[in-house]
């Protein structure tokens, strides 16, 4: 573990938007990540998916450097998680967007929070219930006094691949 502590790391982070009725996300709580790709599968051998990008958003610190995930306490069955993925795929299709739901990746909040990049950047898992009680945000916590650049983004991608090692694939025949 890096010597530099990331900001506001906590094993039970307070909920974000509208999450007051729900308990904080505990380390043992399951976290699922929906995975998407293009519908056509050509050249997939050479495509690295899914990326974990944690996009910056200077306008809204709450969503800055976050990625969405699913709270397994709220969606305990993997079928319910897949259902969310299929709904997102259907919405994309309705908007004429080429997006296919591949399945979900699973981890726990504690596993995610235990990861630290080489420069000490860490992660937290928080509720973000704007899209439903199931909605979580995984947030990159920038280490005090450290820059966050391209090298660090590579570290973050790798740590998320470690934290979510296996895809539970799904095909409902809707394609």
């Amino acid at each position: 573990m890096a010597a530099t502590s990331p900001q506001a790391s906590s094993s039970t982070s307070p909920g974000a938007s509208g999450a007051s009725a729900l308990p904080p996300v505990g380390d043992a709580d399951g976290v699922a990540r929906l995975s998407f790709a293009k519908r056509s599968s050509e050249d997939d051998d050479y495509l690295e998916i899914p990326p974990w990008e944690f996009p910056s958003n200077d306008a809204d610190p709450e969503v800055d450097r976050t990625e969405s995930a699913v709270c397994r306490n709220v969606k305990p069955s993997v079928d319910e998680v897949h259902q969310l993925g299929c709904q997102i795929e259907a919405a994309a299709r309705a908007a004429n967007r080429d997006r296919r739901y591949l399945g979900c990746l699973e981890s726990t909040a504690g596993t995610i929070r235990s990861k630290k990049t080489t420069k000490g950047h860490g992660f937290d898992v928080r509720r973000y219930t704007k899209e439903g009680d199931w909605h979580l945000h995984i947030k990159v916590l920038i280490a005090h006094g450290m820059a966050y650049g391209k090298h660090d983004k590579s570290d973050v991608r790798a740590l998320m691949r470690e934290a979510f090692p296996t895809l539970i694939s799904h095909s409902c025949g809707a394609a």
């Binding site: 293009k38 050479y46 990326p51 990008e53």
Partner: protein, 149 residues
Amino acid sequence: MMLNLAYYDEDVRPSSGADPVCLYSDIDISSGATARAVATERLGLAIQRLPSHAEAQGLKRELSQLSLAAARAFIGLLPTNRALPRVGADEDGDVFLVWDTPTGVCELTLAGMTLYMVINPGSRSTHIPQTTFDGGHIPPSILQHIPRG
């Protein structure tokens, strides 16, 4: 095969493993040339289609044309004694290449013509200082870390 190494303008120290001769000397041009060419072409197509894949994955920023062009040029210059990578797009609209081998992982981000390489990304990675890609040759400080394949 002519390999013009005369234009390397970096300070290359043989002891670092970046000796230009060592970097290219085990190229076997007698075997697998066709398979390699096909694989390289498929990788080139994957880069070409990366913008639509990135959109499907939910990336909001449009991919940089310069980063895409740099990635294509980089792949085209990759010696045949090096493994081919997988490609992805990052949130800044740049392209990254990943070599995932049994002995380790190497990731290179092309932000326009600037190269950022990380060896074994994660908690105990090595960050190679950023360098500029001139489109004509792969800097030895980068090439020396790309897995042989």
